[in-house]
């Protein structure tokens, strides 16, 4: 126990550093994790701060929260829809990455094959947290998020299993392919089984109680417990945590009230933040700056190798699975960031590897830094350039105006309250009141104006208003209970009613107010024939602006290709808007044909470009529209 005592002040120092860095990073506009690393680097040079953690400790303290948090908030249904692609990227993809990166590094700069393969395995774990944040901000298709997050979750698991196998091969100096494969399935599968069993067992408990403190504690037990139990049984701890997290996050949803779910999500967001910060800070401390600069060539090789293997995964391997919109591939390619998991694995390399260990930590760090900076910071531009941004200027403008109006109104109300309580005298109130009121009114009018410009925003506003109302209700009930006006039982029952209503207002389709249908009387039927490649983007673009569509598979036309026909009801006066949406989502494209259809007897001609319009739109007048 004595070696834990000096740990406490150390942990406090680290937390303080992390907090200060977070505040500073916001001012300077660099990613928080990058700032942490830089601070760690500085500290390692200037101070005698030494953290002595064994590799096993690093993995078992920091991995479970990072993995559990990702697994917990991933939606199983959306995961299942994209299972094949995610599976391809997470299993064969990881093996492919290991082999390609290992191969390139051993052939190029002449790294020892064993170490190169170990590096290849650990660098295969992706961490798209920062790009997912960008996606959410810009409103890119949810499916892209699901693909990257799902891939990351599963490749964390498989990368660790393969990393373990590669490491033991390196240490023992021998490797047998058959037993390697058997080990992979045994360790991986075993981990998943342990996670499911434990997760399911705890779920039964969680379903029986409605106390968010206890339920949060149970999730902590399950996160660390499944990891430790699996490791004891010599199977994959990380995959156990993944399985447990997925179960509790999805099926567990029904056993947890929305209040509990919010608390649990917040708790794990915090713990994951701590773990992430710790890993980045530790890496900064562990890196020797001069050595980093000396190895720059090796680092460049590593970055190139990682990019090559990512390109192969996304552009070749994923073609074995279901079709993806072609505009998504560059995003998936560039979104393969590396982060805390790869760093933690590097830190966990046994000391016995000696100088190799330092080198591997250095290049891991170099690759992670590159992905965070070069890829993370430019992803926003890439997404905009590919026109995958669906959160338009109007949305942003509406949010700005709405927030300003809300702030002004709240301020006004507060001052009015103070005046009524006699805390502000009449003369002051008379001077202040008209100014404040005028400002609040003007801002409110600005909100109305932007809503009139873009009526589709009204549906968003409606949902937000409903949520706000329910939240306010819940707040009042809590106050009543606290002040003893209502009894505990009454409170519980009333809160349950509010929670049920909140649950219903949550729409699970990625795109928003889908269920509310066309905003207004449908006066026209729009038929849009789109290429398969544009299907997702056109139908998504229409749906989030309240033009939900039905798809019919079709084919033909000049080039005999498969396409889709969308049917959408269009309210009065919105045809222009709908057509513009289609136009923006389906660009003109140039296709190459090697022979004109029907001209088979002619000698094969050079491929020539045929201008293919993005989509064809028919608009019919609707005499009558019924939705029953």
């Amino acid at each position: 126990m004595d070696n834990l005592a000096p740990l406490v002040p150390l942990v406090l120092i680290m937390l303080t550093i992390a907090s200060l860095v977070a505040i500073a990073a916001r001012r300077v506009r660099i990613p928080y994790t990058v700032a942490l690393v830089l601070v760690g680097l500085v500290l390692s040079v200037s101070s005698p701060l030494r953290i002595d953690l064994t590799p096993e400790l690093i993995l078992s303290i920091f991995l479970p929260p990072l993995v559990f948090e990702s697994a917990f908030h991933l939606n199983l249904r959306e995961l299942r829809r994209n299972l094949v692609t995610i599976g391809l990227l997470a299993v064969p993809g990881v093996v492919l990455t290991m082999l390609l990166v290992g191969g390139i590094l051993s052939l190029g700069p002449g790294m020892a094959l064993g170490s190169a393969l170990v590096f290849g395995a650990l660098i295969a774990a992706t961490d798209p947290v920062s790009v997912v944040a960008i996606f959410r901000k810009l409103g890119t298709p949810k499916r892209l998020e699901v693909l990257l997050e799902g891939e990351s979750l599963f490749n964390d698991g498989t990368a660790i299993v393969i990393f373990g196998i590669a490491l033991s091969a390196l240490e023992t100096g021998q490797f047998d392919l058959v037993s390697g494969v058997i080990d992979f399935f045994r360790i991986g599968g075993g981990g998943i089984v342990v996670g499911f069993v434990l997760g399911w067992a705890v779920l039964q408990l969680i379903g029986r109680i409605d106390d968010y403190l206890v339920e949060t504690t149970l999730t902590t037990v399950i996160a660390y417990g499944s990891y430790l139990l699996a490791e004891q049984l010599h199977v994959s701890g990380v995959l156990a945590v993944v399985a447990a997290g997925l179960i509790n996050g999805n099926i567990g949803e029904r056993g947890m009230s929305p209040t509990t779910r919010i608390v649990v999500l917040n708790f794990w967001e915090y713990v994951a933040f701590l773990a992430n910060s710790a890993v980045f800070l530790l890496i900064g401390l562990a890196i020797d700056l001069p050595k980093l600069l000396v190895n720059w060539k090796l680092i460049l090789w590593a970055i190139a190798a990682v990019l090559v293997s990512r390109a192969v995964s996304i552009y070749l391997l994923s073609r074995l699975g279901p079709d993806l919109p072609s505009r998504w591939r560059p995003v998936l390619f560039w979104g393969g960031l590396r982060g805390a998991i790869a760093l933690a694995l590097a830190l966990s390399l046994p000391i016995e590897l000696g100088a190799d260990r330092e080198t591997l930590i250095l290049i891991t760090f170099g690759v992670v830094l590159f992905t965070l900076l070069a890829q993370g910071l430019t992803m926003g531009q890439l997404v905009r350039r590919l026109q995958l941004v669906f959160r338009t200027e109007e949305h942003i403008e509406f949010e700005l105006r709405h927030a300003r109006a809300l702030a002004a109104r709240t301020g006004f109300n507060h001052i009015q309250q103070l005046h009524q309580e006699g805390l502000i005298s009449l003369p002051t109130w008379d001077r202040v009141q008209p100014v404040l009121r005028q400002r609040a009114d003007a801002l409110a009018k600005a909100v109305q104006e932007v809503l009139q410009r873009a009526p589709s925003l009204q549906a968003d506003e409606f949902i937000a208003a409903r949520r706000e109302e329910l939240r306010a209700q819940r707040g009042v009930l809590a106050n009543l209970r606290r002040d003893g006006v209502i009894a505990e039982d009454t409170y519980v029952q009333l809160v349950a009613e509010v929670d049920t209503a909140l649950d219903l207002s949550r729409e699970d389709w990625p795109g928003g107010p889908f269920d509310y249908g066309p905003a207004g009387d449908v006066k026209q039927l729009m038929l849009v024939v789109v290429h398969d490649r544009d299907l997702e983007s056109v139908s998504h673009a229409l749906a989030i602006r309240n033009f939900p569509s039905t798809r019919i598979q079709s084919s033909g036309g000049f080039l005999r290709q498969s396409n889709h026909t969308l049917l959408a009801g269009v309210p009065n006066g919105m045809v222009e808007q709908a057509v513009t949406i289609v136009e923006n989502a389906a660009r003109d494209r140039v296709e190459y044909v090697s022979s004109l259809a029907g001209a088979q007897l002619a000698p094969p001609i050079e491929p020539h470009a045929v201008q293919v319009r993005g989509a064809t739109v028919f608009v019919f007048d609707v005499e009558r529209y019924e939705a029953i």
Binding site: W509, F514, D515, Y516, G517, V522, L525, S539, A543, P548, S549, T550, R551, I552, Q553, L566, L567, A568, G569, F620, D621, V622, E623, R624, Y625, E626, A627, I628
Partner: protein, 88 residues
């Protein structure tokens, strides 16, 4: 003459179609997906005289099951004007 475009869930399609045919309407059935009813659904195309439209709508209303989700709709119907209808 009017063209009715009816979008229903697969579950209701069989039933509604049968009842429509029994009542003397003719329909073409297309499989479709997503959009209004979000799952596998069916689109029916029917041409008919103007005075038969209300009858058809009644049949659809009577035979489409209420959905599990209160927010979803059971059927979406467009009635379009046909300037010409030929059966060749």
């Amino acid at each position: 003459m009017k063209l009715l475009v009816v979008i229903l869930s697969d579950v209701d399609a069989e039933n509604v179609l049968r009842k429509l045919i029994e009542a003397g309407h003719r329909a073409t059935r297309i499989s479709s997906t997503g959009g209004f009813l979000r799952r596998g659904n069916t689109t029916l195309l029917m041409g008919m005289e103007e005075n038969k439209v209300d009858g058809a709508l009644d049949i659809i209303r009577a035979n489409a099951q209420p959905p599990e989700d209160a927010v979803q709709r059971r059927a979406t119907i467009f009635v379009l004007n046909l300037s010409r209808y030929e059966q060749v």
